[in-house]
Structures are given as structure tokens and as C-alpha cells.
Amino acid sequence: MSMSAEHAALEADPGHGGADEVRVSGRWVNVLRQMLATRRVIVGLACIVLLTAMAWIGPLFNPWEFGERDYSAFLQPPSPDHLWGTDDTGRDIFVNTMVGLQKSIVIGILVAVLSTFIAAVVGAFAGYFLGVTDRVLMWITDLALVLPSFLILAILYPALRDKGWVVFVILLAAFMWMVTSKMVRGMTISLKEREYVLAAHYMGVPAWRIIFRHIIPNMSSLLVVDATINVSAAIITETSLSYFGFGVQPPDVSLGSLIAAGSRSATTHPWLFVFCTGLLVVLVLAVNLIGDGLRDALDPQSKHRS
């Protein structure tokens, strides 16, 4: 993959191809340029930046604090006083939704990074050492694939709920790395035959350093795409778990718990439901757009599909 990208960079840059100075723009610069040329990625990035800014800056301009109750306004529709209305205990929906959005974004990103990291390490070690290591690691991977993750998470998390939402992030990541690690393993098996890996090996570089220095960085495009796609998967899983009350627990709120609370009165008091649901859809859509654009920018084979 990386060779073809360099090749493409060479071809795209014929003007600088002097006799003795061939300037190849860096791989990531190249990818970045390609990404920015895709409208999908721009739209996605703009949405994410906007949502993030809204989630963290929005509450600062709002007169109501998170958790504060307005005892003069229960279940009020949107008004200048409460931009997005209030719920049945007089809490401001705008502040609630923004705090929920913050949590959903943070959980999504953390889970994606963590699970991709686990996938890279497990897959690379299994593919590099093969033999017993491979058997054991792949067996664990298969077992984790077979375990019904939703059920396990739903049982485990309430038991650990006082440990806070960080535990939730770790648990979510623990059930999202399997498929990627299998792909990483396959790529590692072919990468380890490359000359630079063999050279490092004969020079006496220890195996773990070869893995972290040579193998994993060479799969970065796969990993970046995977991490992006995992962000939306994590957000959706978090929402679903929180909807059934197995996820983020009060007093913390996430988009999922807000949707659960709002869905009961969605027809009579739509403002409880519409805003959090809409934001969730926009957030996931934006992440998906970036992931899709990234995959096209990094994978020369999928060019003709976009």
C-alpha cells in the first residue's frame, strides 16, 4: 500500500523530477492533500469541529448550569429563556444535551484509539511470532468474538458502575478489537518478509522493537481508517447500552441516556427527543464520512468506487 502511494506521489509530481533531485512529498502530506480534495471529508471534518466547539463552548454562553433546576419551568418548550426547553424536573435541555454530547465524543474517541491499539498489538505479535503465540492469541480473539459482547457488557458494567465511565471505555474497547486484529495479523505475515524487517532482524534488533518500529507504523493507514470507523461504532454501542440503562449512569449523561429519557414523551414533548437524536445522527454521519473518505484516500483500489 505504501509503495503504491509513493509511486502515485512520484507520478503526480513530475514537475520537480529533476535529474538529480527527485522530491517526493511525504506520504501523510500526500494523503492529507487527497483527503482535503474530497468533499465528504471536508463536510465531515467541518461537522465534527462544529459539534465539538458547540459541546464545549456552548454551555459557557448558556445561563444555566449542568444539573441546575429551574423550578418555575417544568417541561417547557423551547423559549428565549431555555433555548431547547426544559425537562420534567426543570433542567435545561441545551446544557444537558451538550454535556451528553461531550461524553459521547470523548467515549467514542477513547474507545476507538484503545481498541485499535489492542488490535494492532495483538495482531502484530500473533503474525510476527506465529507458532504457539499465534495460536494462543488467535484463540483468545475467537473466544472474544463468540462471546455476546452486548450481554457481557450489560452484566459487567452495572457491577462496576461506581468505578466511573473510564471503566466503561475500557470494557467497550475490550470487545471491539477482534476483527481488526485478524486483519493486522494477515498483513503482518506478509510484511515480515520485507527486506527492511529482515535487515532489522539480522542486525539483532529485538522482536518487540521491530514490531513497534517497523511493522505497526507500516500499517498505519489501515489502523487510522479502522480507528475512525470504530469511533462511530463505539458511539452507537454506547448509545444503545445507555438507552437500556446499562451504560453511562446518572448523574452522568450521554446522548444515549438522554434519548432514553426523551423517547417516552417524544410525541407530546418533542424537544426532549429531537435535539439529542438529531445531534447523535449528525455526529455519527460526520465520523462515517471522514472514515469513508480516508479509506478512499489511503486505498488506491477503492478509487473508482467513490
Binding site: L147, F150, I152, I155, S232, T239, G256, I259, F273
Partner: protein
């Protein structure tokens, strides 16, 4: 080939056994069926509760290992034990599987057929209006979690009912309880209850399949054999349908097999929101009611479904695609 398949199957069976045991141990240590008796009035004495829990093999005063041995020897004979209410888990599985199947068969088949048709047509008309519209639609639906699809449909149905002033859409349960309307009346009632949950499932499937089929079709459309088919004089329609679409359907069929298996117990959200008592909603119900044996049974069922799905889709792929068979 035969030996390879047998080895894989044995591996699967071991994995399923381990997964089920893990789920049992996890459920037995974290869920407490004792709590279920604390809110009854009159509150039963501790001896009574102990006796009842002993009958069900759920007493947390018995050592875990002992309970596990009793449960595992039952499972080995094909008996998953009893639920917290004392009914056999096996009967419950039987009943719920049919409920889920009814929903999933119609939902997945409908969604995938429409998805494949739309995806294939969009690939043929690449960059035209139809392609752009269907891609945008699929992207949007893929970004909406199953929970939100199901809930939104419910909300729309409620608003529609209110606007019309009649109960056109029903969105609660599998059928009207205690309805006596003869065979056709019951059938109609069941159908009416099925529309919305099926639609919720089909929508998500449609989006996934149309994206998938479009990509597969585009990979095939540029290939040599389609050009050859045109060059030898086939008209465009035949070349596209008989040569391109047929080849592009191979991966989709395996994808369908896999999806179907995963869906068997994966429709938790749709079933729960529309109050269908299928396998999916059992996932949530069993945890809420502290039903240890049900949790283990659901895990086993899901593991079997996933394994069977991946096994079948692999075999199907090798059977349908000669290129895989050769290598």
C-alpha cells in the same frame, strides 16, 4: 477438505462451550436471583427462598462450583435448566426463536433484496442522480443507530395515527391479547403488528446491502469478462444481469448468510422497543430479572448462531466461487 472442516467444527464447539461457561459464571457471580423475592408481599422467609432457589439451582449459598456442575451436566444432556419463574429454559427458547425468526426472515429478506437491487442499479448508473440519491440515503440510514430507527418509526406512527384519528399503525407486542377474530382476523392482526418492526429492521439492512452491493458491482463492472460478454455480442442487459450481477452476488450471498446468523439474537433493540418477546429482547429481560440460566442459554444461542453463520458463509463462498475452491 473434509478433515479440515471437522477440525474447524471441533474448534467451534469448544469455543461455544467455553463462551457459554464464561457467561454462566459471570451471570452467577454478578446477578442475584435472591433479590427477586425481596419485594414480594408477604415477604417469604429466608428458608422458603432458600428452598425455592435450591430447587432452581440458583442458591448463592451453594458453592459456585457445585451449582456449575449441576448446570453443566444438565446442559450436556441438552437441558438448560429452569428460569427464575420455574419454567424450563428450553421451552422458552423454542417459543422465542419462532418470534424472532418471523421478524428476521421478512425483515432481512426484504431489506437485502431491495438493497441489492438498488445497489446494483446505482453501480450501473454510477455518478448519475439515482446513484447519488441512493448513496446519500444509505449513508444517512447507516448513521442512525437501530435504537433511533425503531424509536423514530414509532414516533412517526403515533403522529400519523393522531393525524388520521384511527389506529392505523400498531407498535406494541406481537398481537392483540385475547383477540377473537377467527383465523383471518388473527392473521391480519399479527400482520399489522409486524409492519413497523419489520420496516425498522429492513431499513437498516437495506442501507448496508445497497452499499455493499454497489461496491461489489463496481469491482465487477470494469472486469474483462463483462467486456468479453459485450464483445461477443450479448446485449447490455444480458451482459449486466447474467455476467456482472451474478458474479457480484457471490460475496453478497455469503454476507447475507452471515448477517442472518448474527441477527438471530441481535435484534435486541427492535424487539425490545416494539415489545416482541423474541431471543433479542431476552438478552435484556434475562439480565433485568436476574435470570442466570437464561443469560447462559442466550449466550450459547448467540455463540452457536455466530459460529454457524461464519461456517456456513465460508462453505457457501467456496461452493459458489470456483476461484476460492481452486486455491
Amino acid at each position: 477438505m473434509g478433515k479440515f472442516l471437522v477440525r474447524r467444527l471441533v474448534n467451534y464447539v469448544v469455543l461455544i462451550m467455553l463462551a457459554t461457561t464464561f457467561a454462566y459464571l459471570l451471570a452467577a457471580t454478578t446477578l442475584s436471583p435472591r433479590v427477586n423475592y425481596e419485594e414480594r408481599s408477604p415477604r417469604p422467609t429466608e428458608e422458603q427462598v432458600d428452598q425455592r432457589l435450591d430447587e432452581l439451582n440458583l442458591n448463592d449459598k451453594t458453592p459456585l462450583a457445585e451449582r456449575w456442575v449441576v448446570w453443566a451436566s444438565g446442559v450436556a444432556k441438552g437441558d438448560f435448566g429452569k428460569t427464575v419463574t420455574g419454567t424450563p429454559v428450553n421451552d422458552e427458547i423454542e417459543r422465542r426463536v419462532w418470534v424472532s425468526l418471523r421478524l428476521i426472515i421478512v425483515g432481512t429478506v426484504l431489506g437485502s433484496v431491495i438493497g441489492v437491487a438498488v445497489g446494483a442499479y446505482a453501480a450501473v448508473k454510477q455518478y448519475r442522480l439515482f446513484d447519488k440519491a441512493s448513496t446519500a440515503g444509505a449513508f444517512f440510514v447507516l448513521a442512525v443507530p437501530a435504537v433511533v430507527i425503531a424509536l423514530s418509526l414509532q414516533v412517526f406512527a403515533t403522529m400519523f395515527n393522531q393525524a388520521v384519528g384511527a389506529q392505523v399503525f400498531v407498535y406494541n407486542g406481537e398481537g392483540t391479547l385475547g383477540l377473537e377474530a377467527g383465523f383471518w382476523g388473527t392473521l391480519w392482526d399479527r400482520l399489522k403488528h409486524m409492519i413497523l418492526p419489520t420496516l425498522a429492521l429492513a431499513l437498516a439492512q437495506f442501507a448496508a446491502f445497497s452499499r455493499y452491493q454497489r461496491n461489489m458491482m463496481l469491482d465487477v463492472l470494469g472486469s474483462d469478462f463483462v467486456r468479453t460478454a459485450r464483445a461477443k455480442g450479448l446485449n447490455r442487459r444480458d451482459a449486466l444481469l447474467k455476467h456482472a450481477l451474478r458474479t457480484a452476488l457471490i460475496p453478497t450471498v455469503t454476507y447475507f448468510t452471515f448477517t442472518f446468523g448474527v441477527m438471530m439474537a441481535g435484534t435486541t433493540f427492535t424487539e425490545k422497543i416494539y415489545n416482541w418477546n423474541g431471543m433479542g429482547s431476552w438478552v435484556v429481560d434475562s439480565i433485568v430479572t436476574n435470570d442466570v440460566h437464561a443469560v447462559a442459554a442466550v449466550s450459547c444461542f448467540m455463540a452457536v448462531c455466530i459460529m454457524a453463520a461464519s461456517f456456513l458463509s465460508d462453505i457457501l463462498y467456496a461452493w459458489l466461487d470456483p476461484r476460492v475452491r481452486v486455491s
